[in-house]
Amino acid sequence: MRLPQFNYTGPDTLEKALDLLSAHAQDAKILAGGTDLLVRMKKGLIAPKFLISLKALNELSYIKKDKNAIRIGARTCLADIIASDLVQKEATALSTACEKVGSATIQHFRGTIGGNILQDNRCFHYNQSAFHRSGRQACHKDGGKICYARDESDRCNSTCQSDGATALMALGAKLVLVSKANERTVALTDFYTTDGIMPFAMEPQELLKEIVIPVEGGKSSYQRLAYRSAIDYPIVCAGVLLKASAKKDTIDDARIVVGAMGRSPLFLNQESSSLKGKLFTDTAAFQKAADSSMNSAATFAVHNVGATLEYRCAMVSEMVFRALQEAAAAASKA
C-alpha cells in the first residue's frame, strides 16, 4: 500500500499557497497533518496530482482571543488546542473533542483542527482497501451508482465523524475561507451540503484559514462514544452549549448538536429551543430533549460505521443527556 505518485509543494506564505491552489484547484489537495488524506490516498480512494503542504505555513497556527471570540488558525495542531487554558475555559466542548481525536501522537505531531473539520465523510463500505473494493461495483462516493449502506439509495450516505466539527457547531463557530480572489465567513451550520460525496460547501480553490468561536459566556460539553480509548472515530457524539439568563438560574439559549449520525453534524433546532427558559436543574426537560434528539437524528443515520444502527440511535439520547447535564453543572457553578 504505497502512496500513488503526486507533486509536492510546500509554500511558506498564505499568498503562495493560494496562488498554487488557484492554479491547480481541481487537481490539488491541501496537506495539513495528512492523517485523513494520506490514508485515503494509500487506499486508492483519491489520487490528487498536487499536494500543497501547509507544513511551512506557520502563520496559520495560532489561538488568540479578541473581543467576543476565540480565533484559531486552521493549521493549529490539536495538542496546542488541548493545552490552551483559554479554549478549555471558554470552549470546553472543543477542548474535550480534540482530546478524543486519534491518539496522543496524532494530536501532537500531525492532526490539525482544520484537517479535523475537513476530514472526509466515512462509510464502513467505502473506506476500504482497493483490494476489498476491487471485487464489486463502485459505490456513489467511489464514482459508481449504488450504495452498500442503504439498499436502493440514489445517493451517498457517508457519515461525518469529526469530533471537532460537532463540538464547534455546538459552540456556534464560523469558518473563514480564503481564495486568491475572495475571503468569506460562513457559519459552520451553513457549511455542509447534503451530499455525502462532497459534504462541504467549499470551492476547490478555497482554503480554510481560521475558525472563529464566539465567546458569550455559555458553558459547553462534548460527549462521544467509541469502542476504544484511542484511534476510534465516534460511533455517536453530541455537543451542547448552554447560556444562562441574567438571573443565572435558567437557560437563556441552548444549542444541541449530534454528530456521527448523518452527512454532517446535526444542529437540532427544535430540541435546542425546547430548553429555553428551563431551569438548569430540570433533568426531565433534558431527558425529553435528549429523547427527541434521538428521534430527529435517527432519520439521518444508516448502518455504516461499525456499531449497529439501533445501538447508535439509542445512544444519541444518552450522549445528549450527558452533555446537557455536564454543561448545566458547569453553568450553575459559573
Partner: protein, 761 residues
C-alpha cells in the same frame, strides 16, 4: 522448598537479548531481506465466496514487460495440497470456495509490476450460492463446499465420554445449561507474513519464511517438491526474526508454496510479502465456535458431570483450527475434578475463512463456556463462587478422566493469590463487579505429533564462550533468553557468554515447533541436557587438574573451583584451553535430544498429553455503564503456577501480553465477516486494544517447582489469555446481573441484555 534455592542466572530479570537490536531497527525481518537477483511474487485472490472459475485469461498480464511468470491452478501439481486434511491446493482450480482463495500468482521484477499484472488477469466466474452458517451447513439440503467430500461435516474423531453423564445428571442436585458462541479473531502480528524461495542449480530449495515450525515446514515443503516431481533434494528453512507468532505460523500457507512454485518456474529467488490487508484477509483466525454446555453439581457444590457439544465453523479449507478440539478436551475433562464428562465437536465446511492455531489452541473457547457456567451453577446452588472453585480444584497427584497425570499443581495457591489482591465477594458500588476464572493448560510439552522432541547441539570455544544450536524457535517470546540462562546457569557462565543459534534447519536439530507453551520446558530441557553432558566432561578434566573428585568442584561466574580451597581455582576458559591444547586434546561439545515422557491420545482420547500442567486463576474488577453498556476494566490479577520462573521479567511480559490479548478477545476484537467477506481488514476497524486501553495487570507468580521441568519450570506462553473472557463475563454478571454468552462482550450486547432484563422485571 529446597529445590527453589537462589541461583545465579536462572530466576533473574534479564532483559530480552535482542531488545536493543530491535529497538534500534537493526533486526532483520523478512521485509528487510533482499537476495541477489530476487524478484517479487503476488497472489490474486477470489472475487467471490463461492463460484465456478469459467475462464482465466493471463495473456495481457503475461505481455507486460517485467513479468517473469504467471501461474494458475492448472500449473499446480495435483498432489500439492496443504494442511493435515490435504484439502487445500496453493492455487485453486475449477472452483473458488472463499474470498481468500488464491487463483493466480505472478512473479515480476518489481512489486509494482507484479501488482499491475494481477489487475490485468481476466477471470470469468459463475457465482454459486454460498453457505456461511455452520449449523445450516450441517443440514442435508445445504449446498456443498466441496462436492467430492459429499458432506460439509469433516471426518474427524472429536468425541469422548468418560463415566456416565446421563446417570450423573439425574443424580445431580443442580444443573445449568447454556449456549455460547465465540468469534473470529486474528493474531495481529506486527510483522506481516512473507517468504523468499530460491532453488540452487541442483534444485535444492532454500526458503526464508516466517514460521514457528522450521522442521515441520521443511517436511511440508519436501512434500511439495515431491509433488512437483523433484525428489531426494534438500530443503533448508531459515526463519528470519519475526514480528509475532501467536500460533499464526504453525502451518505452512499458500504464499509459501506459491513462492516455491514461482521460484522454480522462473529460476530466481522469489519474495512474497503480505501487506496489512492481506495479513487480515489471507491468514487464518482463531477457531470460532458454537458451544452447548451442561454442568451439574451435588448439593454441596461438588461437580458431578460436564456435557459439551460444539459446532466449529471450519471455513472452506482445513488447517489446525479443526484440531483445536483436541486441546479443548483438556479443560473440558480436566479443569477441576469432574468424573463424568462427555464431549463431541463437529467441524463443518463453510464458505468462510479457515482457522489456525492461536495462543491457547481452543482452550479459551472451552474455558469461556466452562467458567461462565460454573458461576451460573454456583449461583443456582447458592454457593460462593470462589468456594465452588476451591471445592473442585485440581490437586497434585490427581489423574483426570482423560488420563492426565497432574504432577505439580498450584491452582489453590493461584486462587489465594487472586484473593489476596482482590476481594471477589466483597461489598461493591453500583455498576461494579468482580469475576474469577481458572485455567489448566499444557505446561510440559504436548504430544500432538509423533515426536514432541527438541534437539540441541552445544560447543564451547577456547575463550569460555558457548554456541548452542537449538531446535527451538524464538518468535519474540524469549526462547533465546531462556536457553541462554539455562546453559549459563549450568555451566557457571554469564548470559553474554552464550550464543543461541536457532531457526535454520541446516544447522539446528529437529524440533516439533514453537507451540503449546513448550519452548521453555522442552527446548529448555534439551539445552540443559547438552549442557549437563559438557559439564560432566569439564568436571572430570578439572578433577584431574585439581586432584579432587568431580563432585567437589563448582562452576560459577566464569570460574571453576573447589570451595574453601584457595589453591584450587581457575577460570573456565583457561581450563578449556588446557584441555584443548594438550596431547590427545579435546574440544568440548555435546548433543542432546529431549523427547518428553508424554503420550499421544489414544482412540478413546485418553493419554497423558503433557508431562506437567500449568494452572492459573484470574480475577478482574469491572465497571459497567448501565446507560451505554460499556464495560471498563478497572483492575486485573493474573496468578499463574509456572513451576519456577526462569526469567520473571519475560514471564510477566508473557502474562501481560496474554491478558491484553484475552481482554481484546473478551471485549472488542472481532473479524467482521459478511457473507464470507472480511469487512474490517485494518487496525482502525479491527478493535485491537490500544496502548490507551491497556490496564495495569498484577501478575503474581506461584512457584511449585515441577520435578520434570528445567530448574523446575513449566510453560507460560499461552495461559495468560485463557481465562480472561469468562473472568470478564462473570464480572459483568456480578456488576449488573446480565450473562453475556457471545463474544466479544460489546456495549450493544450488554445494553440489549440490560433492556431485556428490565422488560422481564
Amino acid at each position: 522448598m529446597n529445590e527453589l534455592k537462589e541461583l545465579s542466572i536462572v530466576g533473574k530479570r534479564i532483559p530480552k537479548l535482542d531488545a536493543a537490536k530491535k529497538a534500534m531497527g537493526r533486526a532483520e525481518y523478512i521485509q528487510d531481506i533482499k537476495l541477489p537477483g530476487m524478484v517479487y511474487g503476488k497472489i490474486l485472490y477470489s472475487k467471490y465466496a463461492h463460484a465456478n472459475i469459467v475462464k482465466i485469461d493471463t495473456s495481457r498480464a503475461k505481455a507486460l514487460p517485467g513479468v517473469l511468470c504467471i501461474l494458475t491452478g492448472d500449473d499446480v501439481p495435483k498432489k500439492m495440497k496443504m494442511g493435515f486434511y490435504k484439502d487445500n491446493p496453493p492455487l485453486k482450480k475449477g472452483k473458488v470456495c472463499s474470498f481468500r482463495d488464491e487463483v493466480a500468482a505472478v512473479a515480476a521484477t518489481t512489486p509494482e509490476i507484479a501488482k499491475k499484472a494481477l489487475d490485468m488477469i481476466e477471470i470469468q466466474y459463475e457465482e454459486l450460492p454460498g453457505i456461511f452458517d455452520p449449523e445450516k451447513a450441517m443440514q442435508p439440503d445445504s449446498p456443498l463446499v466441496h462436492d467430492y467430500h459429499k458432506t460439509n461435516v469433516l471426518n474427524l474423531p472429536w468425541k469422548l465420554h468418560y463415566g456416565d453423564v446421563e446417570k450423573a445428571e439425574k443424580e445431580s442436585a443442580f444443573v445449568v445449561e447454556e449456549r455460547f458462541t465465540t468469534q473470529w479473531v486474528t493474531h495481529c502480528c506486527l510483522g506481516t507474513s512473507g517468504a523468499i524461495a530460491l532453488f540452487d542449480s541442483n534444485n535444492n530449495l532454500t526458503i526464508h519464511t516466517n514460521t514457528q515450525i522450521p522442521s515441520l515446514a521443511q517436511k511440508d515443503f519436501l512434500e511439495s517438491l515431491k509433488a512437483m516431481g523433484i525428489e531426494n533434494k534438500r530443503v533448508r528453512v531459515i526463519k528470519p526474526i519475526i514480528g509475532g507468532g501467536f500460533g499464526s505460523k504453525l502451518d505452512s500457507y499458500a504464499y509459501e508454496h506459491v513462492a516455491i512454485l514461482l521460484a522454480h518456474a522462473c529460476r530466481r529467488p522469489v519474495k512474497i510479502q503480505f501487506d496489512r490487508v492481506e495479513e487480515f484477509k489471507a491468514t487464518s483466525t482463531r477457531q470460532p465456535t458454537i458451544i452447548y454446555i451442561k454442568q451439574g453439581c451435588d448439593k454441596n457444590g461438588k461437580l458431578t458431570f460436564r456435557d459439551m457439544r460444539m459446532v466449529l465453523d471450519n471455513g472452506a479449507y482445513t488447517s489446525w483450527g479443526a484440531t483445536t478440539p483436541s486441546v479443548m478436551m483438556m479443560p473440558i475433562t480436566s479443569l477441576y475434578r469432574v468424573e463424568n464428562v462427555r464431549y463431541e465437536a463437529k467441524c463443518v465446511y463453510t464458505n468462510n475463512t479457515y482457522s489456525q492455531a492461536f495462543r491457547g489452541y481452543g482452550n479459551p473457547q472451552a474455558t469461556f463456556a466452562i467458567e461462565s457456567t460454573l458461576d451460573m451453577l454456583a449461583e443456582k446452588a447458592g454457593i460462593d463462587r470462589v468456594q465452588i472453585r476451591r471445592l473442585n480444584r485440581n490437586q497434585p497427584g490427581d489423574v483426570t478422566p482423560q488420563g492426565f497425570k497432574i504432577s505439580s499443581c498450584g491452582l489453590s495457591e493461584c486462587i489465594d493469590a487472586v484473593e489476596k489482591e482482590m476481594v471477589i465477594n466483597g461489598p461493591k458500588e453500583k455498576g461494579i463487579g468482580y469475576g474469577i476464572a481458572s485455567l489448566i493448560h499444557v505446561g510440559g510439552g504436548a504430544r500432538i505429533y509423533k515426536s514432541d522432541g527438541c534437539g540441541a547441539i552445544l560447543k564451547m570455544d577456547d575463550y569460555g564462550k558457548v554456541d548452542i544450536f537449538t531446535g527451538g524457535t524464538d518468535m519474540g517470546q524469549g526462547m533465546d533468553n531462556i536457553t541462554a540462562q539455562i546453559v549459563a546457569e549450568e555451566l557457571g557462565l554469564l548470559v553474554e557468554d552464550i550464543n543461541v543459534v536457532h531457526s535454520d534447519t541446516d544447522v539446528c536439530p529437529w524440533d516439533v515447533g514453537a507451540h503449546a507453551s513448550r519452548s521453555t520446558f522442552v527446548a529448555g530441557n534439551a539445552a540443559l541436557g547438552a549442557a549437563k553432558k559438557v559439564k560432566a566432561v569439564i568436571l572430570e578434566e578439572a578433577a584431574k587438574t585439581f586432584g579432587v573428585s568431580p563432585d567437589q568442584i563448582v562452576m560459577k561466574a566464569r570460574n571453576i573451583f573447589v570451595p574453601g580451597d584457595a589453591e584450587k581455582t581457575m577460570t573456565i576458559d583457561k581450563l578449556l584451553r588446557k584441555v584443548h591444547f594438550s596431547p590427545q586434546g579435546k574440544m568440548l561439545m555435546a548433543d542432546y535430544f529431549y523427547d518428553p515422557d508424554n503420550e499421544n491420545m489414544g482412540k478413546d482420547m485418553k493419554g497423558n498429553m503433557s508431562v506437567t500442567y500449568a494452572f492459573g486463576a484470574h480475577g478482574v474488577k469491572v465497571k459497567v455503564d448501565e446507560e451505554t453498556g460499556k464495560v471498563t476494566v478497572l483492575d486485573y490479577v493474573a496468578a499463574h503456577d509456572v513451576g519456577r520462573a526462569i526469567n520473571p521479567l519475560l514471564l510477566e511480559g508473557q502474562v501481560y501480553g496474554g491478558v491484553l490479548m484475552g481482554l481484546g478477545y473478551a471485549l472488542t476484537e472481532e473479524v467482521v465477516v459478511r457473507d464470507g467477506k472480511t469487512m474490517n481488514a485494518n487496525f482502525r476497524d479491527y478493535k485491537l486494544f490500544t496502548a490507551k486501553d491497556a490496564i495495569k495487570i498484577k501478575a503474581p507468580v506461584v512457584e511449585t517447582y515441577d520435578e520434570f521441568g528445567p530448574f523446575g519450570a513449566k510453560g507460560i506462553g499461552e495461559p495468560g489469555c485463557v481465562p480472561t473472557a469468562p473472568a470478564i463475563a462473570n464480572a459483568v454478571y456480578d456488576a449488573v446481573g446480565v450473562r453475556i454468552t457471545t463474544l466479544p462482550i460489546t456495549p450493544e450486547k450488554v445494553l440489549a441484555a440490560l433492556m431485556e432484563k428490565k422488560k422481564n422485571h
